[in-house]
């Protein structure tokens, strides 16, 4: 199976060098080849398991509790401005209206 590694690396927000793209392309193909045998298993009437606890709607009372201060919360960032996280631009001018 030929995988469009460049496409998935963009989806994953994971910059890959050309050599990494080649290597991962091959390794992922091999792993996915293995997964094909799962087709053998009859699962039409089977429900999915997304979690194993059986718990539902675990909530706490809606009240404000002590949390991290702004100073603590921003302490590990390399890029702070006036106590706020600086993020890369995600919207640029010139978007079609």
């Amino acid at each position: 199976m030929k995988i469009d590694i460049a496409h998935f690396s963009k989806l994953a927000n994971l910059p890959l060098k050309l050599k990494e793209q080649e290597d991962f392309g091959k390794q992922l193909s091999d792993v996915l080849e293995n997964f094909k045998k799962l087709k053998e298993v009859a699962t039409d009437k089977i429900e999915e398991t997304s979690q194993v606890t059986g718990l539902t709607n675990v909530a706490r009372t809606d009240e404000v509790v002590i949390s991290l201060s702004q100073h603590e919360a921003t302490a590990n960032s390399k890029n702070i401005h006036s106590g706020l996280f600086v993020v890369p631009v995600i919207l640029e001018e010139g978007i079609e209206g």
Binding site: A12, L14, K37, V52, E72
Partner: protein, 470 residues
């Protein structure tokens, strides 16, 4: 007296009677750490000054009459556990300089209980691995043979206990990362029931699989640690409200009449025949002790490793998306090779057009694997299996073959898929390298697993063997 060889149980008695102090015990453990860790590479951060302070505080509490299981007992933490003010890295360059602003619930509980933190352990980065070689800070070595891997991903924690640096250590088990290194290092490793121990403040790998377990020298000790770490936590919505058992209560009960399942799918030709013989001998021992061996089948076992690598990597790709260098950590090109590989695989199986064939299919087979265990536990009380198809292998041997590496988890992933508890106990040696056996039980049956483990260790005493370190 070789204080570093003491189990928690023996140390507890000597501390409570005043025969030894936590300060003496902690000092000996730290000396051992300083002497041997350059060869073992099992620690990333050592908290020496804090440890000595905590030991003194514990001694004061003991002098005041407090008698609790872990008071004054030294321990270490896999570097996945956030420790407020103490660097926490997941053994990755992405978090090389990360200093948490809060501690995980497990850490808070252990420190409130008076346990003495020696430091943060090395591991496979992000808990991705089965050997300890995926650390961004160098591989950890197996104290039984320094040219061999100790197993992973909780490599550092396993080695800490195996080398008598501390009597217990916390690891994490998502696909076998406690049970497998325990079996390769002659230690006891518990993977608790999913939801038994809070995941709050532990760096997430695969959120529906991650469990917070630990390493000890004996099953008796393992029960003591779980009695402190287990319990519902308001910060972890998946933590169980089921009351915590008295895990030591049944340790002295024999196993006469206990039904022990041997699943045929776990005793396969692909594994090392000597490892297989060693595990089978241990099961015969359980039979001698009064256990009733029942052959069972877990028919979907052959699909487990693929189901695991689809679902786990999907959850990994989601959990690692937060590391973008904005709020903390370095940027994403700093991820190691294995992390990148798993992120890519996970992204693929969750993508439009592939989701149904892989991820959704995986979730359905997960249901079938869970049902296999439910049916089996109607006929047996516990299930006994090998943990690893081989003993420890040479450093570098599987490093370039990701598929071979993934196959080393073949006997352990089912426990995480079903969310059931698993206990590795030492059962012997092949060519000087340890072999462990896994006991699996129904949800929340840890008390039973400890009982079987303890009864077995009383008559076999594999825990008395020690690696030769010079």
């Amino acid at each position: 007296m070789k204080l570093h060889e003491l189990t928690i149980s023996k140390a507890r008695k000597k501390l409570d009677s005043g025969e030894i102090s936590s300060l003496e015990l902690t000092k000996q453990c730290l000396e051992r750490l300083e002497k041997f860790d350059p060869q073992l590479n099992s620690f990333l951060t050592v908290t020496k000054e804090q440890a000595l302070e905590d030991a003194k505080k514990a001694d004061a509490r003991i002098a005041g009459g407090e008698k609790t299981p872990l008071l004054g007992i030294p321990f270490s933490l896999k570097d996945m556990y956030l420790t407020k003010g103490i660097k926490t890295t997941a053994a990755s360059r992405v978090l090389e300089n990360y200093i948490p602003q809060y501690s995980s619930t497990v850490v808070t509980k252990l420190q409130s209980a008076g346990a003495v933190l020696l430091g943060k352990n090395n591991q496979d980065a992000w808990a991705h691995g089965s050997s300890g070689e995926n650390s961004d800070f160098g591989a950890t070595k197996n104290p039984w043979n320094l040219e061999m891997i100790p197993g992973g991903s909780s490599s550092g924690p396993a080695v800490t206990v195996a080398a008598d640096i501390a009597p217990f250590s916390m690891g994490t088990d998502t696909g076998g990362s406690i049970r497998q290194p325990a079996s390769l290092t002659n230690t006891v490793g518990i993977k608790p029931t999913y939801g038994r121990v809070s995941r709050y403040g532990v760096i997430a790998m695969a959120s529906s699989f991650d469990t917070m377990g630990h390493f000890t020298k004996t099953a008796e000790d393992s029960a003591m640690v779980l009695s402190v770490t287990a319990g519902k936590d308001v910060h972890d919505a998946t933590s169980s409200p089921i009351p915590v058992d008295d895990y030591s209560e049944d340790l002295k009960k024999d196993i006469k009449g206990l039904r022990i399942g041997m699943p045929r799918e776990y005793f396969i030709s692909g594994m090392d025949p000597k490892v297989r013989e060693t595990v089978e001998a241990a099961i015969r021992k359980l039979e001698e002790m009064g256990g009733e061996i029942v052959e069972i089948s877990l028919p979907h076992t052959e699909y487990a490793i693929d189901v695991y690598y689809i679902l786990q990597t999907a959850e990994v790709s989601s959990n690692l998306a937060r590391y973008d260098g904005i709020r903390y950590g370095a940027t994403r090109e700093n991820f190691g090779e294995e992390a990148k590989r798993r992120i890519m695989l996970g992204t693929f199986t969750l993508a439009h057009g592939y989701y149904d064939a892989y991820y959704k299919k995986g979730m359905k087979i997960r249901t079938l694997i869970k049902q296999d265990f439910n049916k089996a536990f109607e006929r047996v009380d516990v299930i006994a299996t090998p943990v690893s198809p081989t003993t420890a292998w040479r450093i570098g041997e599987k490093a370039n073959d990701p598929l071979a590496m993934y196959l080393s988890d073949i006997f352990t992933v089912t426990g995480n898929i079903a969310g059931i508890p698993g206990l590795t106990i030492p059962v012997g040696f092949v060519n000087g390298l340890p072999v462990g056996m896994q006991l699996l039980g129904p949800h929340f049956s840890e008390k039973l697993l400890f009982r079987v483990g303890h009864q077995y260790e009383l008559v076999t005493k594999w825990y008395e063997r020690r690696p030769k370190l010079i």
